[in-house]
């Protein structure tokens, strides 16, 4: 019995020796970039990962390799590092515009199937090649490898970029009546800038949205509590800081399908010129003006989407939720000709701390 037990314990101890991922014995990939490679059907992958310089200091290092699939790229890269690649702490995945136009799902599938990859990580499309972006020497800003994710996160929380991550991409991708969007980055002055949004039809990039349209898009896309809007007319110009914006849908089935997107915006003026905003009627006037401007912008956006036959806002999903026995194929066919209206209602609650 004792012999048997000790044999069992030995066996267990050896069998329990599962693969370890000790923190300092792995190549911790923080960002992954995918580009087109000159060779046909090949993609080029770039990773950045921290290397240890001396006590307390890290530097990010980059590495590139090409292959036919993402899996192959990963294997290639693994052959170039001294410690095994580890994607568990990956926080941004970048795709170049070129490759995005051909579809990114094949590449994303590798990440989606890896249980180590999170869903709160950020995806983004870059105007230049991702290699160019990732190899920018910004070791001061990106010494901990969190620069790109923080950049996007910060802009989502405090600015006009809608909330987007790996999960929202997959959510929209697998939806019947919705198309994904991703942040659109570009290289500027040895740093990176958010240029707007990349629009997708399924997993293929079909267009972009400029940064001036971001706020209008965000209010249509989601409810928000933070954001700012620049408005101007001949008489004045100013900035509306958005405190609260809520969207709800009115769907009319008769006589034909019509959708109205109602957006209630509450905000305060933080800067304005040439008028006295203390007077109620002036404020009313500004409100009407902003409404008009936003309505126009919203209409323009919807028009653009219909022309591209994409639905990044998920209007179809809202219609589905209000329609019994919804026929999504028919919907997608008729989408581009649909009567979709945008109706903003703006209320200015405060006008800054000085009159």
């Amino acid at each position: 019995m004792k012999k048997f037990l000790s044999l069992l314990v030995c066996l267990l101890l050896t069998a329990c020796n599962t693969e370890k991922e000790v923190l300092d014995d792995i190549t911790m990939v923080r960002s992954f970039g995918f580009d087109k490679y000159p060779k046909k059907n090949h993609i080029n992958g770039t990773i950045i990962y921290p290397i240890y310089i001396d006590e307390q200091t890290f530097k990010m290092r980059d590495l590139s390799a090409a292959g036919e699939t993402a899996k192959e790229v990963r294997a290639e890269l693994n052959e170039m590092v001294s410690k095994p690649l580890f994607v568990g702490k990956l926080n941004t995945v970048l795709f170049s515009q070129e490759i995005a136009k051909e579809g990114i799902m094949e590449t994303l599938d590798m990440l989606q199937r890896d249980p180590g990859v999170g869903r709160a990580i950020y995806l983004a499309i870059t105007k230049e090649s991702t290699k160019e972006i990732l190899t920018i020497d910004n070791n001061l800003a990106n010494h901990d490898g969190n620069f790109y994710s923080s950049l996007i996160k910060q802009n989502e929380n405090y600015s006009n970029l809608p909330h987007l991550n790996f999960h929202t991409f997959l959510y929209a991708y697998f939806s019947d009546c919705m198309d994904p969007i991703l942040p659109y980055l570009s290289h500027r002055n040895n740093s990176v800038k958010i240029k707007g949004l990349a629009l997708f039809k399924k997993d293929k990039m079909v267009g972009t949205l400029g940064e001036e349209d971001l706020l209008a898009f965000k209010t249509l896309y989601q409810n928000l509590n933070e954001g700012s809007y620049q408005f101007s007319s001949q008489k004045y110009k100013g900035n509306l800081e958005i405190l609260k914006s809520r969207i709800h849908y009115t769907i009319l089935a008769k006589p034909h399908h019509r959708v109205i997107l109602n957006v209630n915006v509450k905000g305060r003026l933080t800067e304005y010129t040439k008028v006295n905003a203390g007077k109620p009627n002036v404020i009313k006037g500004i409100e009407r003006n902003i409404e008009k401007e936003l309505n126009r912008e919203g209409y323009k956006l919807i028009g653009k989407f219909q022309k591209l036959n994409i639905d990044p806002i998920g209007i179809g999903e809202h219609v589905r939720s209000r329609t019994r026995a919804f026929d999504h194929k028919g919907w997608n066919k008729n989408y581009s000709g649909l009567d979709i209206k945008v109706k903003y209602q703006v209320k200015i609650t405060e006008s800054g701390i000085s009159q």
Binding site: C16, K20, E21, L23, D24, P50, G88
Partner: protein
């Protein structure tokens, strides 16, 4: 000395007795008294010679002619015995208790007079292990009688029952069992008595011997009875309905049945306001959890689940780990053992030297091992904190157990990280669930869940809220107070 008259050995081993008779006879010094017919027998070191000379000898000298029985009646002592024809064993045991045996040369009758020397004992001192800033500062000493007096002074009630038994064939250690007749559950009393009486061991030198011999599960790492050097704590436990015992020669009283939460209650929790003591108790509980799980958690996260580390912490942890030649588990074991070593060295040395060793060793070894790149400084912080946390447990036996539990957990965490840690946790819980203290569930207010007992477990609510004695003890008299009446608004007496 009135207690000892009831002293009765419940159990005796005939073989041991025989040996004793042979051996002890020689120690008794039989002396003739002056020119009289009387002889006296005693053990010199046990009796007070001066009292013997002055009081006994003089009296006999004056009343030489009296018969034995008459002399016994006239002898001006309260503590005396008369035996018509005592056997050797009785003589031995009486003399060994510090009596002087008196007999006439011609008869077999004997008188025993207690003139034992008052021993030079340690005075009642301040509690050292369970020191409290507020509250009484008396601690037990090694003398059973003094200890009993300390408790009796606190509980001047006729319900307080004190029963004695002698344990240990050779040491004949006197053990006093205490309980309150009208409160304590009889089964608990019976259990304790039976277990104590069942002990058959040749020497009992301290109450901790007894604890280890009567615990429900002797294989368990966790103590199942509490020992305390504070008479007030013992008195309080008696009032709650527990059973306690004191041992001759031991400065620790022991009581039970207890539940695991009591091990994390310091007695001065009752001396400060309930908010503060509740806070401290919760803190202690967290300290225990931290001390058991912090290092294993570090090992498993670093070894298996680096994904769990938040982005902002990542670089801190990685910098501290890089350049460390050992896998995390060895690093952790190395540091934990160092701390244990320091603690052990400190405990073996005199207080002042011990303190120095602790400080010097802690700082020097800690800093040096980080600088030498043997351990990471994050781990050093974790290990030091968890060692500190393990010392917050007020009962020394429990804090020992907690320190030990950490090691298997560290080794387990090396298997499958968090998964094997969870299994380890469940093993501990199962073990605790199976434990009993004097046949009462050990995890009591937690499981079986007795919400009314929670008032004095993880928290200590105000006294007026604690109207009842704990359910766990199944006491005869449940009510603790009946005087509290809530006053209405604007209502006065």
């Amino acid at each position: 000395m009135r207690f000892f008259n009831t002293g009765k050995s419940i159990k005796s081993n005939p073989l041991a007795q025989e040996n004793e008779n042979k051996a002890l006879d020689q120690n008794i010094l039989w002396q003739e008294i002056g020119m009289s017919d009387w002889i006296s027998g005693f053990i010199e070191s046990l009796i007070d010679q001066e009292r013997f000379n002055k009081e006994v000898l003089c009296f006999i000298q004056k009343n030489q002619s009296l018969k034995c029985k008459e002399l016994y009646e006239q002898l001006p002592f309260s503590n005396k015995h008369y035996k018509k024809d005592p056997d050797k064993q009785t003589i031995n045991s009486m003399v060994l208790q510090g009596c002087v045996a008196l007999k006439k040369r011609s008869s077999k009758e004997m008188i025993f007079v207690h003139v034992e020397k008052a021993p030079n004992l340690r005075p009642i001192s301040v509690p050292e292990v369970e020191f409290s800033v507020i509250g009484p500062k008396e601690a037990f000493n090694e003398n059973l009688e003094t200890n009993l007096v300390l408790i009796q002074k606190r509980l001047p009630t006729s319900a307080l029952q004190i029963e004695f038994i002698e344990i240990g064939q050779r040491t004949k250690t006197k053990v006093a069992i205490l309980y309150l007749k009208d409160i304590a559950n009889e089964t608990n009393v019976k259990t304790l008595k039976e277990r104590l009486a069942g002990i058959d061991y040749d020497h009992i030198l301290d109450s901790s011997y007894l604890i280890q011999m009567i615990e429900d599960n002797k294989m368990s790492l966790f103590p199942q009875l509490i020992d305390s050097e504070r008479p007030d704590r013992i008195a309080a436990s008696l009032i709650e309905g527990k059973v306690a015992f004191l041992t001759q020669g031991s400065p620790h009283g022991v009581y039970g049945p207890v539940s695991i939460v009591e091990f994390f209650a310091a007695f001065d929790d009752y001396f400060v306001t309930w908010h503060i003591s509740s806070l401290f108790r919760i803190m202690r509980m967290f300290a225990v959890l931290f001390s058991i799980f912090a290092t294993p958690l570090y090992v498993s996260v670093i070894t298996y689940h680096p994904e769990l580390i938040p982005d902002d912490l990542l670089s801190t942890l990685t910098t501290s780990r890089t350049d460390i030649p050992f896998p995390p588990v060895l690093e952790a074991l190395f540091l934990e053992l160092t701390i244990e070593l320091l603690r052990e060295a400190g405990a073996r040395l005199p207080t002042k030297v011990g303190q120095t060793i602790g400080i010097v060793g802690g700082i020097v070894i800690g800093t040096a091992s980080v600088q030498a790149g043997l351990t990471s400084n994050v781990l050093l912080i974790i290990v030091a904190l968890s060692a500190l946390a393990s010392f917050t447990t007020p009962v020394y036996r429990m804090s020992n157990a907690i320190r030990i539990v950490r090691f298997p957990m560290i080794i387990l965490s090396q298997f499958w990280g968090l998964l094997s840690m969870t299994l380890g946790l469940m093993f501990i819980i199962t073990h605790l669930l199976g434990l009993t203290s004097l046949n009462r569930p050990y995890l009591a207010p937690i499981y079986p869940p007795r919400l009314s007992d929670w008032k004095d477990s993880f928290v200590r609510l105000p006294f007026y809220v604690q109207k009842n004695r704990p359910d766990q003890l199944k006491v005869q008299e449940k009510k603790k107070i009946s005087w509290w009446k809530k006053r209405d608004i604007d209502e006065f007496e």
